[in-house]
């Protein structure tokens, strides 16, 4: 510990060089934390998804609908406590580029089964009472500067919803209470869409709430058996599995983001290692003098390593702090809503600082070895 001053002194020796190294480590940690946060966003959506809710879709693919009679059949399956249903509306708000999820739901049961959709009792009541009303997420409201009472018009994107426009009135703004529900969705009445559309009595998926999560496998089998060999066979899974298979469709994100993160770390190792080596080379004479004065080789080694770690922890903290500050839910809107919300959290930031320390340690290893193995006589004879 008594050497801490010495370490700080040598770090300040060339301020510009130290600053550049700090900044390059900061950038690496910033990128790393941001990438980590994206992956966490996907995992969180899966993790937070309920395993007490079962989702039933058509076995062929979720783009096909099933008749409303399926809802009552599923309600009658033992082990099912509550049922709701929804349709993917796929409406277009002004321009196809304005992508967000807009879903027709059976409002009462849906809000009952999804306590994650947090909305005030007054707004909820107003939404339930207005057949053309809608609930919009707090994120969407920010994106389009909407307010309660605003009228918005969606163009139907899927042929069986007809060709005429669908006007809605915003009756409430919901907040998301967990990663299972994002704040970028618009919900409205299934009945309104059903009446106006070209095809009637169709639901996209049915959600069943289980009495007991351990019964998930048995109940989902029971549900699928009910519709086996009918024209509308189903496939039932827990919400968690459903979310996981959806994320897996985007491709191997773990591998892609992981390799980019690795490249980031390696790049920084090259940059930081190079700088450390430079600064050791510059101090050759100085180190030789210290050795002559009686400093052990191991002390010299630790001094150089310490300097590397100090510099990169400062860089890591800076990068993590900036990432924590600017990478939040509104970041990367360009993703168009298909990517779950993500933001750098404290844990990502701490990991980032840790990564910074590791980078510093690794980068300093070779220069530190160089410094500790210095031959005093040669070094003193050398003119810097």
């Amino acid at each position: 510990m008594k050497f801490i001053n010495l370490v700080l002194k040598s770090a300040r020796r060339s301020k510009r060089r130290t600053a550049l190294t700090v900044l390059s480590v900061a950038i690496a940690v910033f990128l790393f934390s941001a990438l980590r946060a994206v992956l966490d966003g996907f995992n969180a959506a899966t993790e937070a998804s309920s395993s007490t809710r079962l989702v039933t879709i058509r076995s062929t693919s979720m783009i096909f609908n099933m008749p409303t009679s399926h809802v009552d059949t599923i309600r009658s399956v033992p082990g099912v406590q509550d049922v709701t249903y929804a349709n993917w509306f796929g409406g277009i708000y002004k321009d196809p580029k304005n992508f967000f999820a807009n879903i027709a739901i059976e409002p009462e049961s849906y809000l009952r089964m999804y306590p994650e959709i947090i909305v005030s009792p007054e707004e909820k009541q107003a939404f339930l009472e207005d057949r053309t009303g809608c609930l919009v997420g707090s994120g969407l409201v920010k994106r389009y500067d909407w307010h309660v009472g605003d009228k918005i018009v969606l163009k139907p994107g899927i042929p069986y919803y007809g060709t005429q426009d669908y006007p809605f009135t915003i009756r409430g703004i919901y907040k998301s209470g967990s990663s299972a529900v994002d704040d970028q969705t618009m919900w409205f009445h299934w009945k309104y869409v059903d009446e106006r559309g070209a095809v009637h009595g169709q639901v996209g998926w049915v959600v069943a709430l289980l009495n007991n999560p351990d019964a998930a496998t048995r109940v989902s089998q029971l549900i699928d058996e009910k519709f086996a060999n009918s024209p509308n066979e189903t496939k039932t899974d827990t919400e968690k599995q459903f979310q996981a298979s959806f994320a897996s469709m985007l491709g191997n994100l773990n591998l892609l983001l992981g390799s980019v993160a690795l490249a980031v770390v390696i790049t920084t190792l090259f940059v930081a290692g190079n700088t450390m080596a430079m600064s050791v080379r510059e101090r050759t004479t100085e180190i030789a003098v210290m050795r002559t004065l009686g400093f052990q080789a191991v002390t010299i080694f630790l001094l150089v390593v310490g300097e590397g770690i100090v510099v990169s922890i400062v860089g890591g903290a800076l990068g993590a702090f900036v990432a924590r500050l600017i990478v939040n839910g509104e970041f990367l809107q360009a993703a168009g809503g298909f990517i779950p919300q993500f933001g750098v959290n404290n844990w990502n930031a701490v990991t980032g600082v840790g990564l910074g320390a590791v980078i510093g340690l690794l980068a300093a290893l070779i220069p530190a070895t160089m410094a500790s193995r210095l031959k005093i006589v040669d070094a003193l004879r050398r003119v810097a």
């Binding site: 783009i63 469709m249 080596a277």
Partner: protein
């Protein structure tokens, strides 16, 4: 320039350790740049390869993709009778009315269900899309429950081998043939008879008509003819343009990601280059003084150090390109946002992309070298010469 270029080159070799580290830093950035953009490139060219300039795809007016389009059964004969549509040797019009639905099949790698595009096609589909070639088996026989499977779909999803039975749409279908399509998106699809697909999926009409035109130049008159017919609320698009549009969302997403990552990463590498060049200038203060005393102008010194930095970065860029090359041709898949189904594609590194990587590295070298080079030129001659 000979002397000074030689001097800079040799100085770089003298400090080969530092130079190599800096170059490697830049190499990593360029490798990430090339690899991520190779994904976007591969995805895009897979879709673009699906379009042929001779073909037009006819969708409902206002529809941006096949999934969202509808073509009525009685509209097909009207389209087929248009004079701009080419005819086969048998005198029949080369137009294929199609239905595109998505079915769910387990992936080979993780057994997870994934969305696979299933295309119901007309009897002339294989004449309209001449790039399709059968590697195994034969075309499906119209009127039977037979299907053809694209090569990529075969390798990515379970149970699609030649001769196997596949269950979907409350019926069982037999795989009669496997086809390739010169890397086009059709290789990720399953094809069958549209007239059997419609009842299987309770559809009353087609979604699109793809037709071969007598000549690419008749497109405008085809467009006018369809617009003029009140029975057709449809709009033709040139096939390559249509497929380029289909790739836009995903390609933009990947490009935004790639740019974000590489730009930020490159700042780190530029700092590295800057450090190296500052150190280089500091070590060689005396030499720079000598050069100036010999009569080399400040501008010459600036350009010399800038050139050294750019050369160093270019070496790094070239290494980065080489590091990225092995991913070329690697096959992967992702969800195509426009069709909501999986599309298999290959990483694609084009000469243009490599050139872009090299230019990018040169830019990093120039930015990183500029300040140190100016510093070198500003050193007062007398003081520089006095330094040991």
């Amino acid at each position: 320039m000979g002397l000074i270029a030689n001097y800079n080159l040799r100085s770089m070799i003298v400090r080969k350790g530092t130079a190599a580290m800096t170059a490697m830093g830049i190499a990593m950035v360029v490798a990430v740049f090339v690899m991520t953009l190779a994904i976007a490139q591969g995805f895009r060219s897979t879709l673009v390869a699906s379009g042929s300039p001779e073909n037009a795809i006819i969708l409902r007016k206002g529809s941006t993709s096949e999934n969202l389009s509808a073509v009525l059964k009685n509209q097909l004969p009207i389209i087929e009778s248009l004079p701009q549509i080419a005819h086969g040797p048998d005198g029949r019009p080369l137009a294929s009315a199609e239905l595109l639905v998505i079915i769910s099949l387990p992936r080979v790698t993780d057994n997870q269900p994934a969305n696979v595009p299933l295309r119901g096609v007309g009897p002339k589909a294989y004449e309209v899309r001449s790039t399709l070639k059968f590697v195994e088996g034969r075309r499906f026989t119209p009127g039977t429950r037979e299907i053809n499977v694209g090569q990529q779909a075969l390798t990515r999803f379970k149970g699609l081998a030649l001769g196997s039975d596949v269950k979907f749409g409350s019926a069982t279908w037999k795989v009669a043939g496997i086809f390739t399509a010169e890397d086009a998106s059709f290789e990720s699809e399953i094809w069958g008879d549209v007239d059997l697909m419609m009842p299987a999926f309770q559809r009353g009409g087609y979604q699109s008509v793809t037709a071969k035109m007598t000549d690419p130049s008749v497109f405008e008159s085809l467009d006018a003819a369809i617009a003029a017919d009140p029975r057709l609320d449809l709009k033709p698009q040139r096939e390559p343009e249509y497929y380029a549009d289909q790739s836009a969302t995903t390609t933009t997403l990947i490009r935004v990601f790639a740019t974000f990552v590489t730009v930020i990463l490159s700042i780190g590498a530029v700092f590295g280059a800057m450090n190296t060049m500052y150190a280089a200038v500091a070590y060689r203060t005396r030499e720079i003084g000598t050069l100036r005393a010999l009569g080399f102008s400040r501008l010459r010194i600036v350009t010399a150090f800038l050139a050294e930095s750019v050369a160093l970065a270019l070496v790094g860029g070239a290494i980065g390109c080489v590091l990225a090359l092995p991913v070329h041709g690697l096959s992967t898949g992702t969800m195509n946002m426009a069709s909501f189904s999986e599309l298999a594609f290959k990483f694609r590194i084009t000469p243009g992309l490599l050139l872009g990587g090299l230019l990018f590295s040169a830019l990093m070298g120039a930015v990183g070298g500029l300040l140190p080079a100016i510093r070198a030129a500003r050193i007062p001659v007398a003081r520089a010469l006095r330094e040991i």
